[in-house]
């Protein structure tokens, strides 16, 4: 076969293969749209679930009795399933894997919570990466320690009504609030929370932006403190984002020039155990109840800074607070002493070194000239 022929044949073969595929794809697109419409009209969706739903969606008296004698209705709403993110994609038995035929064996769980925790393992069959990250998180550790109230997948994401987690951001924090209500109240009143709730601002953080969603770190671990500035830096180190709100873009870089910032950044890089906790963003700015500093009056701010200093540096005099240069590069007006020392060396070091090098070069030149 000549190359040209070969090309032509290949092209023809490609057309033969691809055209029907395209047609099928277009067809399946149309099918899904129809399915969705059908589901909305007659909820239930997957034909494979119909057998289950004959009892579980129809019989209001259907109940399960657990090992401890408690019981619970086993009624599910067809519409809830159809409108969930799994609607039309998963059948009942894809998750409830221990059930294969009707009539099925009775549930053996001790109580409803035991059943939930048990069934949660089913999620990992598809969402394995998230499951493994959960194993690193504080919620799993609490669960493992025997506290069965710690959340598992369905407690945050929902069970039959599981939704796409990329939904409205405000709902993320509200989900956490179901257990962490006091923390949520503090957040809701903070500068971040107010912007989220009152202005629907999408730039401000929700709980998971700082804490993570699955591998949630224990905030009492020393590493949480040493990495806090990185958390804040995600937004406050972003000059474009800060310019939008007329906020100082140097808060992170100035912190990292400070003794505390250097220490924490080195600790976070793994420079061994932390012997002394070092001041970080949240010590002055608050943890969940973060407020704008620029709105307060100068005296009150200095007072607050000093209080924070005294948290570690006990009984320091009031002048100690002036050691902190407030996230701004020292200027002649703001910190004349620091500015002068800085500029003195900026001039002195090159001047001295250039002089010494010149002296050496002249010496070498003289030696060469006299050889």
């Amino acid at each position: 076969m000549k190359p040209a022929q070969r090309l032509l044949t290949g092209f023809a073969a490609g057309l033969v293969i691809l055209l029907p595929a395209h047609a099928v794809l277009a067809q399946s697109d149309a099918d899904t749209t129809q399915d969705k419409a059908a589901e909305a009209a007659a909820p239930g969706g997957d034909i494979r679930s119909e057998g289950c739903l004959e009892c579980h969606a129809e019989d209001p008296d259907a109940k399960v009795t657990f090992g401890d004698g408690s019981s619970r209705a086993v009624l599910v709403d067809r519409k809830t399933i159809a409108l969930s993110v799994h609607g039309g994609a998963l059948a009942c038995t894809d998750c409830h894997r221990d059930i294969a035929r009707h009539p099925h064996a009775p549930v053996k769980a001790r109580d409803a919570r035991a059943y939930t925790l048990d069934e949660s393992r089913t999620c990992r069959r598809c969402h394995y990466a998230y499951y493994t990250r959960v194993l690193d998180g504080i919620h799993f550790k609490v669960l493992e320690s025997g506290n069965r109230n710690a959340p598992t997948c369905v407690d945050c994401h929902g069970a039959h009504d599981v939704q796409d987690p990329k939904g409205p951001r405000v709902e993320v924090s509200q989900r956490c609030a179901r257990c962490h209500d006091k923390v949520y109240a503090a957040y809701a009143g903070s500068v971040h929370g107010r912007a989220m709730l009152e202005e629907a601002n999408t730039d401000v953080p929700v709980c998971t932006d700082c804490h993570g969603a699955h591998a949630i770190a224990n905030p009492k671990e020393p590493t949480f403190r040493t990495t806090t500035h990185q958390m804040c830096a995600k937004c406050h180190g972003d000059a474009t984002k800060m310019a939008k709100y007329n906020l100082n873009p140097e808060v992170v870089s100035s912190y990292l020039q400070d003794f505390h910032g250097v220490s924490n950044s080195l600790y976070s890089e793994g420079a061994t155990k932390v012997y002394k906790p070092m001041a970080t963003c949240t010590d002055c700015h608050g943890i969940h109840d973060i407020e704008k500093f620029s709105s307060g009056d100068k005296g009150a701010i200095r007072e607050k800074v000093l209080t924070v200093c005294r948290g570690c540096h006990e009984e320091v005099p009031a002048t100690f607070g002036d050691a902190w240069l407030s996230h701004y590069q020292p200027t002649l007006a703001s910190a004349p002493m620091v500015w002068s020392v800085k500029w003195a060396y900026r001039i002195l070091i090159p001047f001295i070194m250039a002089g010494l090098v010149l002296h050496i070069l002249l010496h070498l030149w003289r030696l060469r000239a006299h050889r």
Binding site: F259, V262, S263, S265, L266, Y267, E269, A271, T272, K273, Y275, K276, H313, E315, V316, P317, T319, F320, G321, D322, A323, W324, L325, P330, A335, P336, M337, V338, S340, V341, K342, Y345, L348, I349, I352, M353, L356, V357, H359, I360, L362, H363, L364, W365, R366, L367, A369
Partner: protein, 256 residues
């Protein structure tokens, strides 16, 4: 305790002149040790983003231990600086020591003369004293630079104490001074000291005087002629020096 002779003969018959006492030699060792430790534990803190920094912290067992070593070495250096200055002050006041390591107006004239010699406007080099202006520059550099490091280092070590006596701004200012003075000191050492005591073609590979305490008479003649003339008014080959100590070995007769 026996005194070292002012002039003695080396193993190869060379005439040697006393230059540094045992105390000064010990001080030099101490400075080397303190300087090396302080640089190795201090610069990783200054250039903490560098991978070398992480390597040092790992080597020493972490940030806190590195800081502890740095501070301990700093305290040793500070004590030494204090004793050095105290010793010279007492020695000078009681008239037992001369401050011939401190610059005087003649040093400026020597420097000017020497630059003229380098540039060819003078036809002979200056006759330099026991410690020439280049060495005095380095000495006052380490004394004043050392004092800046000691004072700023103590401010950073005891910030809360300092804040009770001085304005709080002294603390960040000390941090800037400590960091920059360290850079200046290391730069001067690497450029000036290494050239002056090692790499200069007249010295290479090294000037051993600070370790042996003695300088060969011919080197004294070449580099510190004014001092040479003071000790050997008629040249070291001709006569034993008038200031020669009683237990000095007799000078070898040199065939002219």
């Amino acid at each position: 305790m026996f005194r070292e002779p002012l002039v003695k003969t080396g193993p190869d018959g060379e005439v040697l002149v006393k230059r540094f006492s045992r105390v000064r030699r010990f001080e030099h060792y101490l400075c080397i040790a303190a300087f090396v430790v302080l640089v190795l534990t201090g610069f990783p803190q200054k250039f903490h983003d560098n991978s070398f920094a992480t390597w040092v912290f790992d080597l020493l067992g972490g940030l806190d231990r590195t800081r502890f070593v740095h501070r301990a070495a700093g305290v040793v250096f500070s004590l030494h600086a204090f004793l050095h200055i105290l010793g010279f002050t007492v020695g000078f006041v009681t008239g037992r020591m001369s401050l011939d390591m401190l610059p005087i107006p003649q040093d400026l004239r020597d420097a000017w003369h020497n630059l003229g010699w380098y540039l060819g406007t003078r036809d002979r080099p200056p006759e330099l004293p026991k410690y020439d202006y280049r060495q005095k520059f380095e000495y006052i550099g380490i004394v004043f630079g050392g004092l800046v490091m000691v004072v700023s280092g103590l401010v950073l070590m005891y910030p809360s104490l300092v804040a009770g006596l001085l304005p709080g701004e002294v603390i960040p200012a000390s941090r800037v001074a400590h960091s920059n003075e360290a850079l200046l000191a290391l730069s001067v050492l690497v450029v000036w000291h290494v050239y002056g005591s090692h790499l200069s073609p007249e010295i290479f590979p090294m000037d051993k005087t600070i370790f042996t305490g003695y300088i060969p008479a011919h080197e004294l003649e070449e580099r510190h002629h004014r001092e040479y003339r003071r000790i050997f008014p008629r040249g070291h080959a001709q006569e034993p020096p008038p200031a020669a100590n009683a237990d000095a070995e007799p000078l070898p007769a040199k065939v002219a």
